[in-house]
Amino acid sequence: MKKRDVIAYCKSVVLKGTGILSSNIYSAILVVFFVLAPVSGVVHAATMNVVSNPNSATVGQPFRIDVNLDTQGDTANAIQGTISFPTNLFTLQSVDDGESIINFWVEPPQSVASGEVAFSGIVPGGFMGAASSVVGLILDPVSQGTGTISIGDLKLLRNDGQGSMIPVTTKTESIVVLGAASNTPPAEPIVSQIAPEFFIPVISKDLNVYGGKYFLAFSTTDKGSGIDHYEVLEVPSHKMVGVVSSWQVATSPYLLQDQSLTSDIYVRAVDHAMNFIIVKLPARYSAPAKTNVYLEFAAIVFICISLFTIVLLRRRRVI
């Protein structure tokens, strides 16, 4: 029963119960109780809104929009959605998830189609709160007009061990794009100088992942602009990391090329502002000593020749 219906009902009862009869007094008391008591059983849906402050932009001046979440008292631990924006007005300059409540991205926020950025991720242990950032987008206005930025394909799952859905509503944001004044210089981008957080990759194996071969699991966060990508480099432990080394762009889980685990493993986490951190996992095992067969053969030949020469020279002296 909605609150306005309760109030309307109460008003009608009060109007009727004007006589001083015990039944009407009890009705009035009940009405007062009904109005003052909180209406139970009303479920407040969570909200996920696009927020831009201000809600206007200028051609050539990148601006930021945020997707904010308010769980309305519920506890959520998984979020999925797609942000849509009109491509005739905006281009995507970058994604900023540095302030996101998401701890682990299942699908890191990225462009999946023209004018669409999809994301999904989890918050282990759950999250309950208001106005919390899920992801930020830096959009570059390219032409004048009014456009709507919206969120679709929304899923918000409850931290209940069953993944039950939390009802969620969204609010779109209308952005008015103004033409650039002729004397307005292009905005200088604000570049984060915060590097990703330190992390420790883990080597593991599972029969159902890469056919049971060793893989590397890794994850970190970046408070400035968010993680852009990871790179992995495997270097045999007896070699040095070269100036030009073949770093491989990688996602977790990453199939290790050296399954003997005798290589040092370097993982580089790079954020959207190109700050990075490199961590090293020392080789788990030592490589067996390798001998050069040809070198051994040459040494044996040299020794034999030397011995023969010595013997020959001694015989000539005797003679």
Partner: protein, 276 residues
């Protein structure tokens, strides 16, 4: 963001108008997860701290504890106002855990933030997974000593019952199952002390059938999500599940909700059982 933390037990009562009520004697507190965000500086981190303090002494009703930590922002001590969310649970003498009590805390430099009125839910268990209709099923657990425990049994008709915890915090109620129909039922409880009502306990399921089957002891190990079998649910399990995300024909043991696919619901279930 790096942290150091420790859980320190204080013996003195805690806070005006409230108390930290913890279940039973020799119980343990767990700060399962703390996620921090700076309200002014918007710094987010998963601390991933699971701290268990094994109480050496009997827990006294109304006793509080101090949680201290060190918050760094990069290599520098953090400075500013930070919005932190804590999840707290109790563990009783049998190793059963209460449901999580989640609460936000604003922490600022130079100030001690005192939280009161935390009333952790009781633990709950039953002695039979399947009970013969007409027999009794024992519903029990632990809470604060000497308080009323409201027990709710969900059936076609909801049944309410009351028990009182003893001086050790243990409570017990024998439910006559003749009033229940055949099939699945569930029960949960909450504690009441003066004007304070705890959160509801976890839900414990049982079945009314034609024979009695003793309940299997509940494991404190994660029930789901431990894909690599190391008794923990962490990054490695997440990576394994991520490998199979949206791929056809995933291994059945990875499909945490049994719907034949790996999607966000499976990750949500893993996130619930996350241990770090």
């Amino acid at each position: 963001m790096a942290t150091e933390s420790k859980l320190v037990k204080r013996s003195s009562p805690w806070g005006a108008g409230g108390a930290a009520c913890l279940p039973g004697q020799e119980s343990r507190w767990g700060v399962l997860l703390a996620t921090a965000s700076g309200n002014l500086r918007r710094v987010w981190a998963l601390l991933g701290v699971t701290v268990l303090l094994l109480a050496a002494n009997t827990v006294v009703q109304g006793a509080g504890f101090t949680y201290q930590g060190r918050l760094n922002d990069g290599n520098r001590p953090a400075s500013g106002l930070y919005d932190m969310t804590f999840s707290l649970y109790g563990e009783d003498s049998a190793g059963r855990r209460s449901s999580l009590f989640v609460f936000p805390v604003f922490v600022t430099i130079g100030a001690t933030t005192e939280i009161s009125g935390i009333f952790i839910s009781p633990t709950i268990d039953v002695d039979k997974d399947v009970v013969k209709q007409g027999d009794t099923i024992a519903i029990f657990g632990e809470s604060v000593p000497n308080v009323s425990v409201n027990i709710q049994v969900n059936s076609d008709k909801t049944i309410f019952a009351n028990a009182t915890s003893n001086k050790s915090g243990a409570y017990l109620y024998d439910l006559d199952t003749s009033q229940l129909g055949f099939g699945s039922h569930s029960t949960k409880s909450k504690s009441v002390e003066n004007n304070l009502v705890s959160d509801e306990s976890a839900v414990r399921n049982f079945t009314v059938g034609t024979e009695n089957v003793a309940a299997q002891p509940e494991s404190i190990l994660p029930a789901k999500g431990d894909i690599d079998g190391d008794d923990r649910v962490n990054l490695v399990d997440f990576s394994i599940l991520a490998y199979w995300y949206s791929k056809p024909n995933p291994p059945a043991q990875y499909d945490l909700n049994g719907d034949g696919k790996i999607d966000l619901v499976d990750f949500s279930i893993m996130a619930f059982y996350w241990t770090g």
